[in-house]
Amino acid sequence: MTSPTFSRRELLRLGAAAGGGLLVALQLPVSARALMGAPVDAFVPNAFVRVARDGAVTVIVNKAEMGQGVLTSLCMQLAEELDADWSRVHGEFAPVDPVYAHPGYGIQMTGGSTSTLGMGEPMRRAGAAARAVLVDAAAMRWGVPASECSTAVGRVLHAASGRALDYGELVDDAATLPVPADVPLKDPARFTLVGKPTHRLDTPDKVAGRAVFGLDVDLPGMRVALVAHPPTFGGRAKSFDAGAALAIPGVERVFDVGSGVAVVADGFWAAKRGRDALVIEWDEGPNASLSSDELAARYLELARTPSDLVARRDGDAEAALASAHDTYTVEYELPYLAHAPMEPLNCVVDLRADAMELWIGTQFQTLDHAAAAATAGLPPDEVRLHSTFLGGGFGRRANPVSDYVVEAVKVAKGTGAPIKLMWTREDDTRGGYYRPMWTSRLRAGLDADGALVAWAHTIVGQSFIKGTPFEGFIIHDGIDGTSVEGAEDLPYAIPNVRVDLHTTDVAVPTLWWRSVGHSHTAFVVESFLDELAHASHRDPLALRRELLVGHDRHLGVLERAAQEAGWGTPPQPGHARGLAVHFSFESYVAMVFEVAAVDGRVRPVKVDVAVDCGRMVNPDTIRAQLEGAVGFGLTATLYSAITLKDGRVEQGNFHDYKLLRVHEMPEVRVHLVASDAPSTGIGEPGVPPVAPAFCNALFALTGRRVRRLPLRDEDLRA
């Protein structure tokens, strides 16, 4: 999911001003303060760190760990300034509290690849403040000036006397001392941890099967609930016969929860069999004739008329097109996509008369917490939300309407015992909140010398921001920033540019999906530029070089990827290369994809990825995110589409919403471009360039231009 670019830039500015995080870091959470009456056996200088008497350092992480490595990278940044013993550091997920809010959005959430950008400095400040107090405590104990003390690996040292104390030995003293308001941060040149490849803190538990995800939570007396959802968006149960379901041993209750009919049982299998046995008469509602084919036709028609909502206007694209020597017009189509996290959606609720606890792997603590409290009719203070690991998020676990959380609380209200709401894979695939379907129409004009003089881009698709609390942040002058990001900030030097948007109103629920708007715009922009290079008989790299004047960081990654891939040297016979470069989430990624004809099919063989995401926190995580992004992007390129017929989603499980498998995964070589710029996003920026780089390589190999995703069988013939 995303924040709009302007807000990320705001974060960058806040970071530069060096005060934004400070206020955040040095308050204790409301919930922790409530616990402060009890005697402490730890030093708790602020909301983000706790040092125990045995020297163990607990870092409180306010972000969702969904694979992107944030648990480790935020701990690293705090531990760096604390000079902690890294082997004694572990992370803990934060409770819901305003002190843990996203510094840009003011709510506790994870998304937009903003965690490092937004929380890196606050974590460093929290660590530095804790360190300063521990130094003061040691200096007092020794009766020496604090300025004579230093710290390293979880100890305060006094070099002059050769004395040293472990942080754990200073906990009780430190707990009585004031925490300084402002402490200078380390010069990055002195970093010993940040910037070095570091093992993830969550690996051992994940490998052993000990890590607790939402679906792993168990409570005494807990029941399992499945909900039979209507077959159409906006449908409702008109009536149902629960007899056969209730006859199944283990099935306890069947009732309408609005979003469908809930079946509560003593376990998953009974709940599933009960749900299978339910006889429901649906009121299919107003969307029972929705068809993605018809939508696609409607979108194409819309795209053929530029919209008055103009996101970018440089010069006069229409006039330049009219006077151009050559013009090109193309149409690109992309489908709805499901996020398909490996851990199906779920939520555990323990609702009592006057209080409630929830366990969820969520990207949206504040909103889920508020929605759960409102649904239960409880004051928010009486509701505790426990964050677990997320078995994948990709934006699906950041829903402004908290769909499955609200459903879970409704089920709990009707049950009278703790419940675990589970969505099956089919529920998830068919349950909506998809990456929107997108259609783009692009026109370009070249002058007599082949120079690109005009670029007009009309985008058609739904807004998932409209009507949410994010509207004020993201929609400006009627234009949803997430619809046009990656297109309106076209980096290429073209004198006449117009990017406009038709926002459609369709009943299919949509949502941000890893890399958000960039997931469609990068494909369209980078493919069309490739088309223009070939049309004007220029090398795709040479054309980009020419048009990226002044965009040094774009050029930096582009040149690196090209060089590493051997661009310009002939590929092996039967192989071909394609490239793409894209800026998203304040980071720059270029890819050179190599494909080959194998047994008459085009296969992905190798990708050279170059990335510039500013100063690196954990280089190994950056590599991992890009390796994974290649597979994630390739899945969408080759396989993924959610289609609708008669209002029904046609896909259900991984047999028809396929994931890339190991035998289809290309070799990935990640090249890290060093930078002193602020640390920026890495969870999402690897995804956008995959589809265009692959399809550009496909074109180089076969001469076949693909303008519709996912690829069809015939597109891949070689």
Binding site: M66, G67, Q68, G69, H199, R200, D202, T203, P204, K206, V207, A208, G209, R210, A211, V212, F213, L215, D216, D218, P249, G250, G267, F268, W269, A270, R273, A340, P341, M342, E343, P344, F389, L390, G391, G392, G393, F394, T424, R425, D620, A624, Q625, E627, G628, G631, F632, L634, T635, N653, F654, H655, L659, L660, R661, V662, H663, M665, E667, V668
Partner: protein, 156 residues
């Protein structure tokens, strides 16, 4: 109808619906939640366990088929192959979200038990029943080669 088998060496008796898949016995009855639910259709492999030493997808394996068998889950994975895999997976930080990884490791154990030094093509066969949405395949492949080297004793 009571079905008797062992899980990680411990005797287990299961009553009730004989069509109930093993996965739910593990996760709900025995609280062995290291075995994961991903699809319920043997499509993703997150639920992979060993039955009498062979990899099986527990989400489609009815308990009635288990009479007299020995089930091993990630919690009970032991021996040199298991140790090598856990070490390799940890050294290479294979997991991202982590949901599918225990199933990946159980499949990798079945592969290595049969083939100590699998080639890339053999890994492609042995591991393609396990899907990973984070697409950690690059490291899964590396980790299997690494575990193989550890088993061979040729590890650095």
């Amino acid at each position: 109808m009571t079905i008797h088998f062992t899980v990680n060496g411990r005797a287990v008796s299961v009553d009730g619906d004989p069509s109930r898949p093993l996965l739910w016995v593990l996760r709900e009855t025995l609280q062995l939640t290291g075995t994961k639910f991903g699809c319920g259709a043997a499509q993703c492999g997150a639920c992979t366990v060993h039955v009498d030493g062979r990899a099986r997808r527990s989400c489609v394996l009815p308990v009635l088929s288990l009479e007299g068998t020995a089930v091993t889950t990630i919690e009970g994975l032991a021996g040199e192959v298991g140790d090598a895999l856990v070490r390799a997976w940890t050294e290479l930080d294979v997991p991202q979200c982590g949901w599918c990884q225990t199933g990946q490791i159980m499949s990798a154990a079945a592969l290595l038990s049969e083939r100590r030094e699998p080639s890339d093509a053999e890994i492609d066969v042995g591991m393609s029943g396990n899907a990973c949405r984070c697409a950690t395949y690059v490291r899964i492949r590396k980790a299997i080669h690494r575990a193989s080297a550890l088993l061979k004793g040729g590890a650095r």
